[in-house]
């Protein structure tokens, strides 16, 4: 590694002591914040279930559980298992919520429009970005 770097940059000795300190501390800051962002995001995630605009239930993502919620058209059965959530059964017509499948990241949603049911994951973790365009 160092041999390779020396081959590419033969005058590495021009780096002063302060340069080395700067590079080291910047890389340390970067890796520290990287670790903070990406390794602590799995704590404290909660599943929030809303019907219409009002929150109905809030359960931890850590405990396996089955919840039944009364929507506009009938019941919706939500399953929490192994840190993930899905809608098992719904009284709606197209079953889009059921076909959404499992979600496990903060910011992800399952929606059942006919029942006006929204299942969303909340947490300290970082929201995922779908796409960035510029």
């Amino acid at each position: 590694m160092f041999l390779l770097l020396r081959d590419w940059f033969p005058r590495l000795s021009m780096l002063t002591r302060n340069d080395r300190i700067l590079i080291f501390s910047l890389v340390a800051i970067a890796s520290f914040s990287f670790a903070r962002f990406f390794f602590t995001s799995h704590e404290g995630k909660e599943v929030l279930v809303k019907v219409g605009n009002r929150p109905v239930q809030k359960v931890s993502l850590r405990m396996d559980k089955r919840i039944s919620v009364e929507g506009e058209k009938g019941s919706v059965v939500i399953e929490v298992k192994g840190g993930r959530v899905r809608v098992v059964e719904s009284s709606c017509f197209q079953k889009i919520c059921v076909n959404t499948g499992w979600i496990n990241k903060p910011g992800q949603n399952i929606v059942c429009l006919p029942n006006k049911v929204l299942v969303t994951i909340e947490g300290k973790g970082s929201p995922t970005i779908d796409a960035v365009s510029y």
Binding site: T16, D19, I23, V27, A30, T128
Partner: protein
């Protein structure tokens, strides 16, 4: 330096910097936010040879000129690049003029104990941070933007190192050429 010579030097430096920036934009970027920042080499060189004021003008004018030629003038990308260049030139010029240890002919070793590579890395980091904050406050306003911060810092260290390394050679050669022409300062 008299007015005419000054204009000539600034124009040549801006032309060099814009050429580097435009040429660099023709390279494929697998990651859209990752650029080498070769134009920063010219800013550093003009900082070392001509001082703060000219370096600042070169940094500001080359972003305007190159974005004009690329057709990105007044797009969001232009404001990102412009603010980044502005702040990084301020940071590098600040380190340079505050850290100068009273030598008549400042060696690259005189920036608060940083070599030109350290100055370049600081410029690259401040460039990236400025862009990130501008993007956050004016374009995206979503905290998810800051997820890219560690990558940006590491990228700034790498690209700042490479451009600083290049600027070291470039400024030495430029000094030689100017001394040969008998025109140094």
């Amino acid at each position: 330096m008299d007015g005419k010579k000054r204009i000539v030097y600034i124009s040549v430096l801006i032309a060099l910097a814009s050429t580097l920036q435009i040429g660099e934009s023709l390279f494929p970027h697998p990651l859209p936010w990752l650029r080498l920042g070769l134009a920063n080499m010219i800013t550093l060189t003009s900082l070392v040879i001509f001082g703060y004021a000219i370096a600042f003008q070169v940094a500001v004018l080359r972003t305007i000129l190159s974005s004009f030629l690329l057709g990105t003038l007044f797009t969001p990308g232009f404001f990102l690049s412009f603010s980044g260049a502005l702040v990084s030139a301020l940071v590098m010029g600040g380190i340079y003029s505050l850290g100068k240890t009273g030598k008549s002919n400042p060696s690259p070793q005189s920036f608060f104990g940083f070599s030109i590579i350290g100055v370049s890395i600081l410029g690259a980091v401040s460039h990236n941070l400025t862009q990130l904050f501008v993007a956050y406050f004016f374009l995206i306003r979503h905290k998810g933007v800051f997820l890219i911060l560690p990558f940006l810092i590491v990228a700034a260290v790498v690209t700042g190192f490479i451009t600083g390394y290049g600027a070291n050679y470039l400024s030495r050669e430029m000094r030689k050429i100017m001394a040969e022409a008998g025109k140094l300062r």
